[in-house]
């Protein structure tokens, strides 16, 4: 035994030394790593192809007649069609989401995190909100249709709006759609506020609403902002609920002002619907116009997304530690 031990020990230690220092290529590990990297790069590649393809298609329209494209209403011929009404619709829908969803969503999140105890009711509300976040967007369209078009039809009776499929209806429907996600992300941001901050505020005698106003909300603001921007971007890109609420596909009639408030009670369209309509046209001559409309929408949506992600990255770094 005494003779074998040193041999065993030397053998093993040499082998270990060899393995650590050999630096050879371990094939299965490398393969695995590159397969994984491959899937990541695949996803990125597809985005690249999509963007290049769309921008390329749209170039003829964007470079030659950008101004006309942005200011024309939708027409029957591809050469003259513009996205003015789409941009206007999307703009006002955005306003509805900001005015309606942001305050309501943040208030609900504050209540759920700060005021509500851990009761059965609170848990049910939380589950309910999470489920609402996962409901398909068409179903929100049905809700919007039922409330704003069906039920309120009587209200619209004399105003000549026989169907109630107005900008307001579309805006409120998407505001409802965006609400659950805003609540969830805001609640998360509020939950991340350190307890020491809260306790310090209470310790100097602040009431609950004062603590919320001066400590919690400012601290959670970046997270809340990120969540709301992402939610807004998603809402602006939705087409299905608008189809259900009766957004006009195709010609919407003559061009009217951008900021005219009376437009809120009229038929409407929005960028995603305009894109859908253009995309459905047969033949190839509508392709550049569709691509151009997509570029316009992408600039808005991805713009919001980028701002949200940048904000989050910047503040996440600051918070850590």
């Amino acid at each position: 035994m005494a003779l074998v031990e040193p041999i065993l020990r030397r053998d093993t230690s040499e082998r270990v030394k060899q393995q650590i220092e050999a630096g050879g290529v371990n094939l299965p590990n490398l393969f695995f790593k590159y397969v994984l990297l491959g899937s990541l790069l695949f996803a990125l590649l597809v985005i690249g192809i999509l963007i290049v393809d769309v921008v390329g298609d749209s170039w003829s329209v964007l470079s030659d007649r950008l101004g006309i494209f942005l200011s024309n209403p939708t027409r029957t011929s591809a050469d003259e069609s513009g996205v003015f009404q789409g941009v206007r619709g999307t703009f006002w829908i955005g306003i509805f989401v900001v005015v309606f969803t942001f305050p309501l969503g943040i208030a609900a999140a504050v209540y759920l995190e700060e005021y509500a105890g851990d009761t059965r009711l609170t848990r049910m509300i939380n589950i309910n909100i999470r489920n609402l976040a996962g409901v398909p967007s068409v179903v929100y369209g049905i809700l919007g249709f039922t409330i704003f078009v069906s039920l309120l039809k009587g209200v619209y009776g004399d105003t000549g709006l026989s169907r109630g499929n107005t900008t307001t209806a579309g805006g409120l429907t998407l505001a409802i759609l965006a609400l659950p996600v805003v609540i969830i992300t805001s609640a998360e941001a509020i939950r991340a506020v350190p307890a020491s901050l809260r306790e310090a505020a209470y310790g100097v005698g602040a009431t609950k609403s004062e603590v919320i106003r001066s400590h919690i909300l400012p601290y959670a603001a970046p997270g809340i902002l990120t969540g709301t921007l992402l939610s807004l971007a998603r809402a602006l890109g939705e087409a299905a609920p608008l189809i259900l609420v009766g957004a006009v596909q195709g010609k919407l009639g003559p061009k009217t002002g951008f900021f005219e408030l009376s437009q809120l009670g009229e038929k409407f369209t929005a960028m995603p619907i305009v894109i859908t309509d253009f995309a459905k046209q047969p033949g190839d001559q509508w392709q550049p116009v569709t691509a151009a409309a997509i570029v316009v929408l992408l600039l808005v949506v991805l713009g919001f997304n980028a701002v949200a992600v940048l904000l989050r990255n910047r503040f996440e770094g600051r918070r850590e530690g």
Binding site: N26, P28, N29, F32, K33, V35, L36, S39, L40, F42, A43, V46, I47, I49, L50, D53, V54, A107, A108, Y111, Y115, A116, I125, N128, R130, N131, L132, G134, V135, P136, V138, V139, G141, I142, T146, I147, R163, L179, I183, G205, T207, K208, S209, G237, E238, A239, A240, I243, L244, I275, T276, A279, T290, L297, L298, L302, N305, A306, L310, N313
Partner: protein
């Protein structure tokens, strides 16, 4: 801050504070509570608006009114729920057409999204160094932000001609092309939730594994992934639910025209899903559809809602331990 007067007597009185502030607190609490209760209202609204006309639809089948009978020129009954096509205009309400359409699109989508999404997530969480991760992760999130109409157009105009038609010799619009588009849409969802799940595995586990001599691949496959499996499963369920609920990609790229679709299990053929059928119905010409046909929209919506709700409840059980992003 208002200074409270120091006075002898009841300590509760002394600490109670300004009555005006207390009243304001009550008001704020009330306002916030009503905001939270809005969500319950919304849920009731959704279920109500679906059920109201879905039930009318079923009753319309069981006891058709004279208008519908006249238009259909055939007897109407529950048998209309089983035929070889979904064509409300002709009183064919074969729900299984739409159901199978949804299933095929979802299977194709998940077949694409699961490996790519999980692979990307594993790489970002286990292999990528922080600087690389800082650049690549936001780009992936950009993909998450692309609206579905854009992906629908891409599926129709690029995926279909360049991939599906070339490889499979299919038509210009197919369930396969739509499925691939939906898959692209769900890749970032899978990647995001899975990555969160894996990052929440304590690094002590990884370090212990490395300390035993395991290389990265073994550590990842045998330690990290099993530890994160509930989050990974949750991401797949959430993605499936999203894929089923996706409308615009199918609407543009799967080719059901004029609000009718033939029953098929062949992904290379055109078809429709529950969602796209609803959108088709809603964008059809008004006034020419029977009441029964119109109500069928809500019936399909109800089926869709129940399915996605079930999936979401299941996923919720898994995802409770992992941060939910989207």
């Amino acid at each position: 801050m208002t200074a409270t007067q120091v006075r002898d007597g009841d300590p509760a009185q002394m600490l109670a504070g300004n009555p005006r502030r207390r009243a304001r607190e009550k008001l704020v609490k009330l306002m916030m509570a009503s905001a939270a209760l809005m969500s319950i209202l919304i849920s009731f609204g959704i279920v109500g608006s679906l059920l109201y006309r879905a039930i009318q639809f079923v009753f319309g089948l069981l006891d058709p009114n004279d208008n519908d009978l006249a238009e259909s020129r055939q007897p109407i009954g529950l048998g209309n729920l089983w035929s070889d096509q979904w064509a409300p205009r002709f009183f064919d309400f074969d729900v299984k057409t739409l159901l199978f359409g949804s299933i095929i699109v979802t299977i194709v989508a998940m077949a694409l999204a699961t490996p790519v999404g999980l692979g990307a997530a594993i790489y970002l969480s286990e292999y990528a160094n922080p600087r690389v991760r800082k650049i690549l992760k936001p780009i992936l999130e950009v993909l998450a932000g692309i609206p579905s109409v854009v992906l629908g157009f891409f599926a129709l105009r690029w995926i279909s001609p360049n991939l599906v038609q070339k490889i499979f010799d299919a038509e210009g619009q197919s369930l396969l092309a739509a499925g691939l588009g939906v898959g692209l849409l769900t890749i970032p969802l899978v990647a995001s939730i899975s990555e969160d799940a894996m990052r929440s595995v304590p690094s002590a586990l990884r370090e212990a594994s490395a300390g035993l001599g395991a290389r990265k691949k073994t550590t990842t496959l045998s330690v990290v992934i099993p530890a994160a499996v509930s989050g990974l499963v949750a991401s797949l369920i959430v993605a499936t639910s999203r894929a089923i609920g996706e409308t615009m990609v199918v609407f543009l790229a799967a080719g059901a025209s004029g609000n009718s679709a033939q029953f098929t299990v062949n992904p290379l053929e055109r078809g429709s899903t529950m969602t796209a059928a609803m959108a088709s119905q809603a964008s059809g010409t008004d006034g020419t559809i029977s009441e029964l046909g119109f109500n069928s929209l809500f019936f399909v919506g109800f089926v869709l809602f129940v399915i996605t709700l079930g999936l979401n409840l299941i996923a919720d059980r898994f995802v409770r331990r992992v941060r939910q992003v989207y």
